[in-house]
Symmetry: C2
Subunit: 323 residues, 2 copies
């Protein structure tokens, strides 16, 4: 997180509701959770903007619609919740004809069908830039909502999904290469791990987050919220197929993509140490490291026994801004 | 509604959930309603874009934040529901410094305090245009959610709030005049009629909508959804203070602002004819007309006994778009 991002978050904090007073989970987790009739209603919002989060030469508008739903469903999954409904606020430039808006909605519809939620409302307005703000609601047992803050020393870290694919595809593109189709597909249409998220909550995950900013940054969020440190084993990470080959061809360290790339929408969870392997097998995940005593710190342990600081890796959502 | 808007709505309809199957109210009303633990959860989304819905020379960013919450709270009120929480997706251009984002959030916070809801999450992303997509949730007794479609012949029409103020202010501005402060205030910081909406639901309102597109257009939506016609008495309409004087000075018909202006966020409801005056007194509203047999049609009855077609009046959210 940059100094400027931190400053903004500090300025806005007084206006955002924290936990308590009917709010089960306030601002600052993957999704907020409020209680309604004894159930937990999760609320996640994510905005995708053309040129910042997607490009129309790399993604179809169907892909963009899919992704706008998927990234929010991933936040819902990271609470251990099941997505239920979505609404969309769409900023539509004049160069986007009705057929393209239809394609975008068709992509949202595909994603909604994939994860069993329904699109129940939308507001489309004229604007100069193409942007979608999708809000997804989810349903969770109040006692089972998994936050970022529950990890304890002695627990193990587990990842469901793969890492590094989208970052490798975009690195190929930045070098003027045609991105590998397999890697590009992960950028275009990420999977959200809804079933695994719900199962992890059932099986006693103590903390969970979805990997959107990069493993290093998101593990850092868990460590900060839980006041713990964490060690990740480089050789245990679920690297997306093709990432290592792409990195070698680009003369890059694959770990930059795997730990610092972002856009992965894998789930990262802390689970009890004695049941970690069984839980990983159950949800189709990998045990990738351990939780240690605080203060918050994230460490990557390499195969040769050396370590690397994971902090500072991770994608910064902000383009440079003026003072 | 223009031909092009109608075409877009027709194209998107297959992707938007309709009523039934756990959905109490689907797409196409002021807000969707889903059932959670026996309660109705209302969901409304509205996007405000700079240059389309607000201008920074007419509104402060605090005003913009207030309005982004208010217009959604108004949708929730029009279902007879009480607003509970909000989330915001913010597109932030590089010329908006952190202090301005803070002012925008402070305005949202003021509106949230005004109507007893809480801001529980936000996503701020870099973009070329300033836009806010706010989603507000509301709580309603499942049996009491008031739709647009329940009006019947013989009922009376009731308006809570005033009409014409924002349109008159913008008409003054377009003529190069300094808008009246009182009128401009209605554009900058609209009121949402939450208490009246809830009370109307309790007292048996059969149909309700918030007047955002203009009385003519929004009454048309109620008539279309309910398959009824409606007659409104021009001399019964609650015209905002200053509108008539502004219209005369501009050489305009005040009814253009009152019936076709939009941005009013008054509530328009159909109520049983025999209790209409009592209900109006209870909620601080005005009885403005009657519901008649279908087919859908809207008629404005003038003091001299002549009538005018209300259809076609109303603000079109769209700027001209290319083919």
């Amino acid at each position: 997180m940059t100094e400027r991002e931190f400053d903004l978050i500090r300025r806005l904090a007084p206006f955002l509701a924290q936990d308590g007073d009917g709010l089960i989970v306030g601002h600052g987790d993957d999704a907020a959770v409020v209680e309604v009739g004894g159930r937990g209603v999760c609320i996640a919002v994510d905005v995708l903007v053309e040129g910042v989060h997607f490009r129309r030469d790399l993604s179809s508008l169907g892909d963009v619609g899919w992704k706008a739903v998927a990234v929010n469903v991933s936040d819902i999954a990271a609470m251990g919740a099941a997505p239920t409904v979505a609404v969309v606020g769409l900023c539509r430039p004049s160069d986007v004809p009705a057929a393209d808006v239809e394609a975008l909605y068709a992509g949202m519809d595909e994603a909604c069908r994939r994860w069993g939620l329904r699109l129940v409302g939308g507001d489309t307005v004229a604007a100069d830039a193409l942007a979608l703000s999708v809000t997804v609601l989810g349903d969770v047992d109040v006692a089972r909502a998994v936050r970022r803050s529950g990890a304890s020393p002695g627990e193990r870290l587990l990842v469901v999904g793969t890492l590094g694919g989208p970052a490798a595809a975009l690195a190929q593109d930045r070098k003027g290469l045609q991105p590998d189709e397999l890697l590009l597909a992960l950028h275009r249409r990420p999977e959200a791990h809804v079933e695994a998220g719900g199962r992890l909550a059932e099986l006693g995950a103590t903390a969970m987050i979805d990997v959107s900013d990069g493993l290093g940054a998101d593990l850092g969020h868990v460590c900060a919220a839980s006041d713990v440190s964490a060690t990740v084993h480089a050789d245990a990470l679920p690297v997306a197929d093709g990432v290592v080959a792409a990195a070698i061809a680009l003369g890059r360290d694959p770990l930059d993509f795997v730990c610092g790339g972002g856009d992965d929408y894998a789930l990262l969870a802390a689970v009890p140490g004695d049941r970690a392997q069984a839980i990983a097998a159950d949800v189709g995940g990998m045990v990738v490291g351990e939780v240690g005593q605080g203060p918050p710190a994230t460490r990557l342990l390499l195969a040769d026994g050396s370590t690397r600081d994971l902090a500072g890796l991770g994608w910064d959502h902000y383009r440079p801004e003026p003072a």
